[in-house]
Symmetry: C2
Subunit: 435 residues, 2 copies
Amino acid sequence: MADQPKPLRIGLAGLGNVGAGVYKNLLKNRSLLQERTGRAMEIRKVAVRNPSKPRTVAVPDELLTANLDDLIEDGEIDIIVELIGGIDQAFTLVKSALERKKIVVTGNKALLAEHGKELFALAEKQKTPIYFEAAVAGGIPIIKTVQESLVGNRIDSMIGIINGTSNYILTRMAEEGLDYPEALKEAQDLGYAEADPALDVNGWDAAHKAIILASLSYGFWLRAEDIYVEGIQDVSLVDILFADSLGYTIKLLAVIRLDESGGIEVRVQPSLISNGHILASVNGVFNAILVNGDVVGETLFYGSGAGQDPTSSSVISDLADAAARLGDCGGRRTGFVPHGLYGQPVAIDDTVSEYYLRLQVADNPGVLAQIATVLGNLDIGISSMIQPEEHEEGIAPIVLMLHYATFGRMKEALRQIADLDCVRAQPVLMRVESL
Amino acid sequence: MADQPKPLRIGLAGLGNVGAGVYKNLLKNRSLLQERTGRAMEIRKVAVRNPSKPRTVAVPDELLTANLDDLIEDGEIDIIVELIGGIDQAFTLVKSALERKKIVVTGNKALLAEHGKELFALAEKQKTPIYFEAAVAGGIPIIKTVQESLVGNRIDSMIGIINGTSNYILTRMAEEGLDYPEALKEAQDLGYAEADPALDVNGWDAAHKAIILASLSYGFWLRAEDIYVEGIQDVSLVDILFADSLGYTIKLLAVIRLDESGGIEVRVQPSLISNGHILASVNGVFNAILVNGDVVGETLFYGSGAGQDPTSSSVISDLADAAARLGDCGGRRTGFVPHGLYGQPVAIDDTVSEYYLRLQVADNPGVLAQIATVLGNLDIGISSMIQPEEHEEGIAPIVLMLHYATFGRMKEALRQIADLDCVRAQPVLMRVESL
């Protein structure tokens, strides 16, 4: 196209777990992303500690540098993506970027929790934003949701399960009756917890995220000493079991709440929540944040709270926001439906799932054989069957769970089964949806 | 402020349930919204069928008009908010607005499902967007999430509970053992179902939303005849009970899925899902959409799928997007933390909740009285107590659930209890979080 806008030119700082994910996924969905944003994204330089180290992603040698200043001094770079972690070096990098009016994208929650006040003041002064979707809850778009989607709401509370390691440990204790050291060991073996798990299990990772979430809703930066933080190290199995017997689940919750006097309550503590609430269904390494707004009511946002791919999804969303900001005044293409990238609708008869089938049949021997024959001839497997004991005289219900088959094949089976003499009522068929 | 940008000038078409909510909530959070977006929002005209009808919101007479054309012809109006519902008149209104390059905000799913292709083509041509967050799932920001937050993802599937009426009916059948007519009657009595509930219970309301969701992910508009739609009218209690005994919950699901050959599967059917999945915990009138992206993995977005306030939260978010688009090239303030609107952190000792307290005490009479005395003196009520039978010789566990108290008061109680001779181990205290 003649008037193709210039590519977005990115300087990537850090090629660890998340940095490598951003590099990989920008390549993977390159054309889709360009189609949707109207702009190519080009990584111009990648700063790493040791350029000669072997890596999981193949970055051309000429992009690599060991010097963070190379990203800042490259006048062609529009955006600095800070994924080096730690505080001091990252702080210097982000400040230098803003001073040169380079947009910053970061996933560094500790940096923002400690220096957010100063960095965002500089961002305002420089009219150059910092995007930080990846800093809280990995792939869950909670930052954009609070900043944009809930813009018309006073945020009354945010209650989050925002440390995946802790949630994994508590889930395994509850599900398998493990004690804390066993569950921690398992999390470490699976790579869900670091060899030194302190920051995750002592609540401070969640506290950093809570500081950021509170700043979004209430517009000021809490200091670490303003927050009360307890971790999960002392949660014992016996309390998990007692809580369950009372109808509760124990979760590490970050609670951010506007109280009646207009004060802001922020704390991280293991807490009991009712089993019936959707937040109690957030298990394993998943995160979720329950947000109560005065207009929208109760909402919940759920997804992977960490990990290379989910976190890079958030970084890429921030890059698209940055691209729109640097582009023409039209901004993001929000409000337009993207151009077609995919094929045509699939006919319903070709769709595949498992099925639930309930029949009312004559209470005679041989009936099941007739039904199984119809299903077998159509190559539809039976995975389980229940035949409840209570039933009307002479008529027996049968419930069958069936293996994967096309809807078309299933409808043909249903037609043939309905025609059998032994079948006494219209069969009931429902899909079993695999999630 | 000297360089305050001009207010966003809105023409509101329709003052029914959602229209009245938008009017009310724009007023309610006026200063907060102006603080966050940097712009005032001013409703300049409100078109209603009958200007003299009594209303739940007090709209000044001089804003009211019975003529939709008045909104279009007012050159001062930047944005038309279409909340009149129906198809033909709304279609004419939206087309006229786009032709005049007035941005459109609409919550009209039937309009978009039927005329989306033509309207979005016109929007492209006019470089004037249509925002439609309120058209799908009420207050849940699913449109922005898919368009922006998941922009770097190929969407592999979206599986939604997106009709609140149907979900309420199925929930009540499952929880209370009601049959379908009883549950429908209850939903009607509570205002969750219309006198004529057809569009909700026959699946077509969900189907309209599914058409919109599919267009976002795959960039083309399905026709109604491309979709397979079944409602919940024929779901019987016996199937809900059998499904439960097999570990499943029946939900009305809209399924939008990219299949292996690149085709798009779109259907609405009552389906079985595993009880252990978070989607099975979506009950009552709530909606939720499970989105699987190739980068982000599994995410879920949950909230009120209908209603005056939740839906107006989405309309207001669209208005803020429109305001940013019409403003300077900076766009939304995303990437900056808003200015402070609220007070100071609350001290942890002043925060209030219910509590779980587990003690290990000497297995003697009189022990409970000592503990109850400490709690009573501090005005902390006991809501329930369990004393498990199995325990070590001479030491008995006691689990107490306590009424609301400040954390400070609770810590004082804990200190006094730990000092009692009868208490044999450090007490365990956890909050019970009310959600």
